[in-house]
Amino acid sequence: MDRASATDEQLMEAYVLGDQAALRELFGRYAPRLLGMLRRGLADDGAVQDLLQHTFLQLHRARGDYRIGARFRPWLFTIALNLKREHFRRLARRREDAQEEFDRHAAPGTPHDDLARSQTARLVRRALARLPDSQREVIELHWLAGLPFPEVAEAIGASLSAVKVRAHRGYAKLRDAVTAELGGNQDAVHAILEGASDGPGEPPG
């Protein structure tokens, strides 16, 4: 099998049948995307790497459950999302608010631009952490992971319309929360962001 041109589903089927190299190909395709999603949502890079490792370890353990023909991407991202959810539950049980995790891992002593960027990023992460679980997970998968809404619906086990409603409400709350954190001053929002910006962000996939 030419792994580079194989579909994700073909690679996963090959892995289930014992082709170890297929895992490397899947890792190469999805680790950057998973890292991107996890890093945008978490400031602790150690936790990000652990979550990534656990995601693929769980993929390995659950390979016997993979249905031939099932879509691979939502399958993988459901695992990552469940592990991330459990990470935050563990943090909560250690009497830490999720936002403290963000604050504690902010890099000290960075140059002003980096500091401004990290401050605004921290604002968004904090606002994201405060969303209801149902909205936050939809936004993480749609915005941070770049999954289209049908795959988000499959990953979280909800209908497409429910997912869109949650996304609509979640994005609105996120926007309002970030604005509120900056004192409701739209000019300040744009001034900070234009000063911290490296250029336009990528649209969600």
Binding site: A47, L57, N82, R93, G157, G201
Partner: protein, 263 residues
Amino acid sequence: MTSKHQASPERDERIGPSDVLERALPPAPAPSVIELDALFARVEGAVREERGPRAWLRSRPTLLRWTLAALLVLSLVLVELLLKPRVDFEFYPTLRMALALGAMGLLAFVALGLGLRPLHRPPAPRWLLTSVLLLGAIVPFALALLPPAHLDHPASLAGAGADFLPRALACFGFGGVLGIPVVLLTLLLDRGGHTTVWRAAAAALAAGLAANLALQVHCAIVHPAHLLLGHASLAIVYPALWAGLSRVVTARASAASGPWPTP
């Protein structure tokens, strides 16, 4: 577009982060090849460590894992039925026995399904977990509080008066031991990805109900107080104890190794 159309999220294809959000939290830089290779080496190492009977068991398909656990529960009942059945079977109403075994058996199997639920599926709704845990406790208690099934066999009249506590504790201890294999097997079958208190409680509830099922076909005493303390209480003690233990274990593990314990 009308405002009504714009306000409808189902029809709005432009649901997404605003420019403000995109600029505030831009995409993370792509990882380097070196970083990816190092991360994959960790994954490969973890996969290589997946050896031995436990790794084999937990990598079985979920339906097979559930079946193994369900067969163990059934085996406990069958062993008691074959080796040490209750001596008052001929007097015990068949329909009532079927109701007790059916209700507790069904709850045990559902609890096993919740406890072994795989990570590639969305988590079970909290209301379902709560309902199963509550019913798992309520059903054995409700069955115990029914009027005695009969009063026709001398063995069924034991467990009262001075005999109450020793008999109840004996059944509690016996049932407690019977549930241990179920707990151990669910631990072996668990893939360890998430060890929430709820999942631990669901798996332990299955053990408590398995104990109740085995006691139902073994113990002839029909005294409600005996059934409450010696049998039904296992359906509460097991999940409470195991949920508490799992919380302590994960708290200590995360304190030792950070928020995420090693797999």
